[in-house]
Symmetry: C2
Subunit: 235 residues, 2 copies
């Protein structure tokens, strides 16, 4: 793949960015940070930054930036590579290509304010993606891609559980699907479908009462990672 030796390397900066999604207050939300420096000073942007050194791995850089800018720890959420964005001009200072990561985070007790980064905020994706809303760089496009990927991943994987805490009920999980997809699902059919996937939900034996009604059984995530057959959104 690399060509001939002894030639001058084009000066391209490599960054990582993170689109960390979570379900909070009945909405799909994304973690954003307020930029403290130009360009786009004061605007909201995805957490991220340049590689710290020539030897830093991409995944490591993503985990580091996540922690530095939001106080979240990579081990507490699901992170996967989303896509790389590199259109010339996407950063006014110099050529930057950014390797983006998609994160699924459980609903956090203290939304992010608890971290080192006081400037991290959760924002509903509906709000961020409104036509009039603006975010720094090409991050709106990245967020669009991240949301679509998340929606699609719920169809054929068990990643919805990554939006829940360690213990959750079938209704918690259904609400994740409903909020991420923006559609309502039949609770009875959902229950049966989820329970029929071997290794998705492991009962803890406990039950919890919400407000009223029969207490729901409590589950933990099982080893299953794929949903077969898939649970498809309405077309």
């Amino acid at each position: 793949m690399p060509d001939d030796e002894g030639w001058t390397l084009p000066e391209v900066a490599v960054a990582v960015d993170l689109a960390v999604l979570t379900v909070h207050d009945g909405a799909l939300q994304i973690m954003l940070v307020k930029r403290g420096i130009p360009p786009y000073e004061g605007m909201l942007a995805l957490p991220g930054g340049f590689l710290a050194s020539t030897e830093e791995d991409l995944d490591v850089a993503a985990a580091r930036e996540l922690e530095e800018e939001t106080g979240l720890h990579a081990k507490d959420l699901h992170l996967e590579q989303l896509r790389t964005y590199g259109t010339p001009g996407r950063d006014p200072r110099r050529r930057v290509i950014t390797v983006c990561y998609l994160g699924f985070s459980p609903n956090l007790p203290e939304p992010a304010a608890g971290g080192d980064a006081s400037e991290a905020v959760l924002m509903p994706v509906d709000k961020v993606l409104r036509p009039r809303a603006t975010v720094a760089f090409d991050h709106k496009k990245i967020i669009t891609d991240a949301v679509e990927r998340a929606r699609s991943k719920l169809e054929y994987t068990t990643l919805a559980a990554a939006f829940c805490g360690p213990e959750f009920t079938v209704t918690d999980l259904r609400e994740v699907y409903e909020i991420v997809w923006g559609e309502t699902l039949d609770p009875r059919n959902f229950h049966r479908k989820i329970m029929s996937v071997p290794g998705f939900l492991v009962p803890t034996g406990e039950r919890v009462s919400r407000q009223a009604g029969r207490p729901a059984a409590v589950f933990r995530r099982g080893p299953a990672t794929i949903l077969h057959p898939a649970m498809l959104r309405s077309p």
Copy 2:
């Protein structure tokens, strides 16, 4: 996303690589080039190379490398971003991150030898991915990812047609599925399924005879891009 100004950029080289797949001689094959220079001199590798300038877009670099190294033109095939690989040490010379593209090419009349690059070859992926086989860099891992992505894309998109020429029969298309997935499909059910997807196949009105048997109707690709419901591989 980018951090503070006035800091020294880690020296990271940005490359693009291409995993171009095609169905040829009854096998799923991948386009490889023989390396003319170290490292891995003489070994087979994915076509690709470094960005030509600070201003070159990733897609443009991919199209350029494709043409330079294989003689294929980007407009003649389907190209999409696969994933970015950047583990430190993956290139012994220096830190390189490579943005990989996945290509679907129709079966070529003169397999690649016709291009500028006399060193481009088609190789069955089964052969390349055998445990004892070796390819340069981490390209074996990339090829594995590319093949899995291609297999999966046939399930829910109409991309199988990108492996066929401009005109093809339902049997041609079925053979693509059978070869890429490595399983046999019922010709009668396949025919019905494909024909039931609106906008997938557009009849030209012509028919062709293979060797024996009733001549098959000839089709062109229609505007449809997704298959709904999906056609799933056997689990």
